[in-house]
């Protein structure tokens, strides 16, 4: 990741963005709304979100919110902004001040039966986060979850275990590498690992560790102690979330929207005409492109439409931004998302990423795309102008139990 580059124009943009974020924080929807998706502007289950440069000042297509953490059953709390909203992961992770994050509140550590603190290597595609497992009361909008196991991302917590390093993906334990003060994983599962991590021996994939002063050992971690999607621990509105972002046309500096908790639990979170797409045990459904079906998922934490490769799409990758597509002219495409019977055609466009990035003050890109061999990753631009419901596994909704997406 490139270091931050500030120049006067960029600084102006940052100030403007901060103002824009403030207006969101004051509870308003968005004046930019021009899509068909209505924004839920108020209610105890509505949390403002904003797409902007994020706390590292350099994040393209990152959607952020703020979260309040408290020492359990106390009034000792801290509100942290710049938390990435991620439907592709599960659980709340907060970057410690040791990693350059905003967290200064001292949260109690989760300990193993031997008294040693628990550590976790949480695995993402673009990197891993390492740190301790802590417990917090989590408050978002008017919702509160008690005693939530969260990860405190901390590169100084203990030596990173070799199993974590040997994944080869970068360590995202600093503000620059994470690009956020934390990640709020509100995807379709409750825990970040699930059954595999509850087992001992060879079936355990090595996400949870007990850590003595210097070294950590892989250990089994029961489901309820795993870092988990705080939504499932809300007393109400706990079966899923809706991400609501208005449509945009062309690059913009920021975009405000809402995250609504619960599906069919309040007048402001009904499914309406949204089509329901059940997902499999991997959290995936299908997408058909040019007659061929591929595994697919919806992920607000991916910062573009990431799909297939240049051979199949005919769209060349960029030279300097190799992870993105750089067509000579903007490509209008369509693909069919499906899950058994329900199917919906999605039309989208892919523009030249180098051109999109030319204006350093823009951070919202509805036509940003990139390669992703063999898979369709419907990243953040998919959410623009579309209310996307994420229902959590085994939680009931008016459309049946999750996991599913609906839009």
């Amino acid at each position: 990741m490139k270091p931050l580059q500030f120049h006067p124009k960029g600084l102006c943009a940052v100030v403007l963005l901060a103002l824009s974020a403030l207006s969101v924080g004051c509870g308003g929807g968005s004046s930019k709304q021009n899509g068909t998706a209505p924004l839920a502007s108020s209610g105890g289950n509505v949390q403002p979100i904003v797409v902007n440069a994020g706390p590292a000042g350099n994040y393209a297509n990152g959607v952020f919110t703020s979260v309040t953490l408290c020492v359990p059953s106390s009034s000792s709390c801290q509100t942290i902004s710049g938390i990435l909203v991620d439907t592709g992961s599960y659980g709340l992770r907060i970057l410690s001040s040791a990693g350059g994050g905003a967290l200064t509140l001292s949260l109690p550590q989760q300990t193993a039966s031997n008294g040693n603190p628990m550590g976790e290597c949480a695995l993402f595609v673009s990197g891993f986060t390492w740190g301790s497992v802590n417990t917090a009361d989590v408050i978002i909008a008017g919702e509160q979850a008690g005693n939530v196991p969260v990860q405190v991302i901390d590169p100084t917590f203990a030596a990173v275990p070799s199993a974590c390093k040997n994944t080869g993906v970068p360590e995202n334990d600093t503000l620059q590498t994470l690009g956020a003060n934390g990640i709020l994983g509100v995807g379709p599962f409750a825990e970040d690992c699930g059954g595999a991590c509850t087992q001992s021996g060879t079936s355990n994939p090595g996400m949870y560790y007990t850590c003595a002063s210097t070294s950590c050992q892989i250990t089994a971690e029961p489901l309820a102690r795993q870092v988990q999607n705080p939504v499932v621990l809300f007393p109400n509105d706990n079966n899923g979330v809706i991400i609501q972002l208005p449509a945009v046309s062309g690059p913009a500096p920021s975009l405000a929207g809402s995250m609504v908790f619960g599906i069919g639990t309040q007048p402001n979170n009904t499914l309406g005409k949204a089509e329901v797409f059940p997902v499999n045990s991997s959290g995936e459904f299908n997408t058909t492109f040019k007659g061929q079906s591929y595994p697919a998922f919806v992920d607000s934490g991916s910062n573009a439409f990431f799909f297939l490769d240049s051979d199949i799409t005919g769209i060349p990758a960029c030279g300097s931004n190799g992870g993105f597509y750089c067509p000579t002219t903007t490509q209008k495409l369509s693909a069919i998302t499906s899950s058994g019977n329900p199917s919906q055609t999605i039309t989208f466009s892919i523009a030249n990423a180098d051109s999109l990035f030319a204006n350093r003050g823009d951070f919202v890109f509805d036509t940003l795309g990139g390669p992703n061999a063999g898979t369709f990753d419907w990243g953040l631009p998919f959410f623009f102008g579309r209310n996307v419901f994420t229902a959590i596994e085994s939680r009931n909704t008016p459309a049946g139990a999750g996991p599913f997406w609906a839009y």
């Binding site: 990741m1 490139k2 440069a53 590292a56 350099n58 994040y59 393209a60 297509n61 990152g62 592709g88 992961s89 599960y90 290597c121 949480a122 695995l123 993402f124 595609v125 673009s126 974590c164 040997n166 994944t167 080869g168 993906v169 970068p170 690009g179 995807g187 599962f189 970040d192 699930g194 595999a196 021996g201 060879t202 079936s203 355990n204 994939p205 090595g206 892989i218 991997s282 959290g283 995936e284 998922f297 992920d299 934490g301 991916s302 910062n303 573009a304 490769d309 199949i312 931004n321 190799g322 992870g323 990035f357 990139g370 390669p371 992703n372 061999a373 063999g374 898979t375 990753d377 990243g379």
Partner: protein
Amino acid sequence: MLRDFQVEANLGRRVCQYGKSGTSGRRRGYRRDRVCPSPVGNPDTRREALTKQRFVSRRAQTKCNLSIRGKLWLTALCLLIPSLQSWGVLGEDAALVAADGARINASSRLIQRESYTIHELRSPSGITVREYANASGRVFAVAWKGPFLPDMKQLLGTHFEEFQKAAQAQNRRGGHGPLVIQQPGLIVELGGHMRSFVGRAYLPDEMPAEVRSGEIR
């Protein structure tokens, strides 16, 4: 991540495998790393390999009752082929021993294609790794899929550091998304999301001419 998974062939090295065997115990306990007790290669890989062998051999005591004759046969096999590995590595040779029915079990199987052989292994934690070896036994590609990542250091062998550096240099303009590494002579692609990962690595210069990259998955 994948401490339980003895990868048979890292990209680019030989595969060392069992030959014929009849015991069901062996079938259940099938682990190639016991075939070659002295992996060579870089010191790190070797140290890890030995650690993992010790780990696995404990399991072997309960799960795999190789006959003395079998052990001798396997040891002899490895001695005869000095470069045999406890697992192969991307870009090195795979010495393929003819497989028999015993090899096809829940955790391992062979798939024969026109110009290459796929060795498919499935770990207890649910990761499937497929290794692609050409006619002369060289591993030119690996692919993986599962709820976690495999031990990429083991899988990519000498290409691991190159992958690691390129992954760190990946420019997503501050954001997150799949990894696409395109180095001269090495392609690595990693996608998916938490609890479901998919990826592949291959050496374009070593791909049999008729193989298309789309076959590596």
